[in-house]
Symmetry: C2
Subunit: 358 residues, 2 copies
């Protein structure tokens, strides 16, 4: 059996109360006694039973997640993951609330952050919009003693504790490297479809893409960025027009959301198999297009990992524990049609499983 506080007390020849004082850093213990206890802790290899400790503390960590509303499938998936983490939070004594705000709306985000602060949560996570007033709102939260983590999208010059998301420059480089390899000796320009260049992730992905293409491959024209505002209809129009005006188009890098529109345009286009397409986020649309060959590769950030990482970091900050940044780094997944993981619907729990799990 694992050693308990009682074992430490016996080993060190002190009382339970003294062990408690040492373990929890309470005052009133002589230095020699403290050392005796710490020696016993080490020699027994004692590890605090976190479950029992949390049970005794009765502590809960109320967290607030702020995510953009709208139809962006990635964001909806993210929200699902937050909810799932919340329902799993039984063990971890974490309760999560979700606030939805209009996408790309700095003012609304600021209002949401200020509202969240009033609830005095143990931490806030938000999909950031890169604007100075948002940085100010984050600073206010931090000033109120509330840990803050940015999720998916980071913000410059802010006081956030951590960013739970991928390295978007590296993601762009990955796309550029794959695109270069996929195109090989084939000539022709490459188009880039983004949501908005005012969003930091999109700018960074483009930057990485350009750099990797230029560094490792023969010179190639990269057309002016098409800004689709993450709007499927607009994206469809833009891509259709681009395909028409550039008959020799060799590749498309779609680095934002709203792939549905692009896919529709590609499907309508003849001779499509000459265009190599790399997109972001493994949504249902992207999955289907991968399978049918309309898209060649999809780069993905695992929303579930990001949410769980954000929660871990916020809890650690709330407890004053250090965060091992490298451990919390989110991977850039590459998917092609051959290594597609099962779709979300395929791993739904069966009713009896849920009942049994109570």
């Amino acid at each position: 059996m694992r050693p308990t506080v009682h074992d430490i007390a016996a080993k060190a020849g002190v009382s339970l109360a003294t062990v408690d004082r040492v373990l929890n850093g309470r005052p009133g213990v002589r230095e020699v006694t403290r050392e005796k206890v710490e020696t016993a802790i080490r020699s027994l290899g004692y590890v605090r039973d976190v479950a029992a400790a949390n049970l005794a503390k009765g502590r809960v960590y109320p967290l607030v997640f702020i995510v953009p509303s709208g139809e962006n499938p990635f964001m909806r998936g993210l929200e699902d993951e937050i909810r799932a983490a919340g329902s799993r939070s039984a063990v971890e004594r974490t309760s999560v609330a979700i606030i939805a705000v209009p996408a790309f709306d700095a003012g609304a985000l600021v209002a949401a952050i200020d509202e969240a602060v009033l609830r005095e949560p143990a931490g806030i996570a938000a999909v950031a919009v890169d604007a100075p007033e948002v940085a100010d709102a984050i600073a206010r939260a931090r000033a109120a003693g509330i840990p803050f983590v940015t999720l998916v999208s980071d913000i410059a010059d802010s006081r956030r504790d951590h960013f739970a998301g991928i390295d978007n420059i590296a993601a762009g480089r990955t796309a550029g490297n794959l695109m270069g390899r996929f195109l090989g000796v084939e000539k022709g320009p490459v188009a880039v479809l983004a949501g908005s260049m005012r969003v930091r992730d999109h700018r960074e992905r483009l930057e990485g893409f350009r750099a990797a293409m230029a560094q490792d491959f023969a010179p190639r024209t990269i057309l002016d960025v098409l800004e689709g505002q993450d709007d499927p209809a607009l994206a469809e129009t833009l891509i259709a027009r681009c395909l028409k005006s550039h008959p020799d188009l060799a590749g498309i890098y779609s680095l934002g959301a709203g792939n549905g529109g692009m896919i529709a345009a590609l499907a309508a286009h003849r001779g499509r198999d000459r265009v190599r397409v790399i997109a972001h986020e493994l949504t249902a649309d992207a999955r289907g297009a991968l399978k049918s060959g309309l898209i060649d590769a999809v780069l993905n950030q695992d929303a579930g990992h990001e949410v769980r990482s954000a929660i871990r970091v916020l809890r650690a900050r709330a407890d004053g524990l250090p965060v091992v940044a490298a451990q919390e780094r989110i991977r850039i997944d590459i998917f092609i049609k051959e290594n597609l993981p099962p779709a979300a619907g395929e791993d739904e729990q069966l009713p009896q499983a849920r009942a049994a799990a109570i």
Copy 2:
């Protein structure tokens, strides 16, 4: 606050003992009463506090992991992950023991399984060798009521409860697809370096590789398989010889362990940048070769995920809970130089972090 068993008792107008009987499926509750209680559970949205329940039960899950010994870096990494999961097991009340057996040795594996069964653990996980006598040993374990999971390498016609590893046919297909794309219009044969064709994973990877190459790309010669026995020295010799005898070699697919030797041979070879190389498992060797450009892509199975999945499945089986197979599927990671995750050494915990974590 979350509802507790007391709240259920009050709401349903029954005693705590009756609630306990319903929750834990004990006999001696009339149907009408049971329904009253279940209604209360649902209407309150009660969820059992797993931490408290496990604390009360004082239950521990002793698990045994059987892994091949030797210098195979992937297996050593796997063992590290098992150990890590064991040290984290505080919360989860799981204790793991590790038994090492010589690689590819069915007899030794059988002996290890039989020994493990004698310990009467709550579950056994093993890296399988595909032999009938091993299947028999697994059947004996199952007959003794011990859940069994195969890890990394599966076995045909066995009674194992679950396989915690990747779909190796899909992995081979992924490699084939990438190889086909990377080669493009370039001519020349492709070599395949395996450990041993008597190992199931290696056979399956080769099968998938051949199928994907044949299906989606122009016909190409795939040379006879080189069997390196997962031995770096032998692999180096084989690859060196192959590079010499096939000056027009276009690609190499290394689907087993022992990449160190292959990498050495590649490094020694001139004009190497004409050979596209895809390998398996992101070991330190492979990481370095990716960075320097000797290897183009690495397919990886995350050992940590596999270990944690095995533990989850074994615990579920021990508790008689169902397993959601799709949820436990292990992803096939693709890494190129641009999306390399940080190396293991880079996320070591600092001393003060460990102290604070007590």
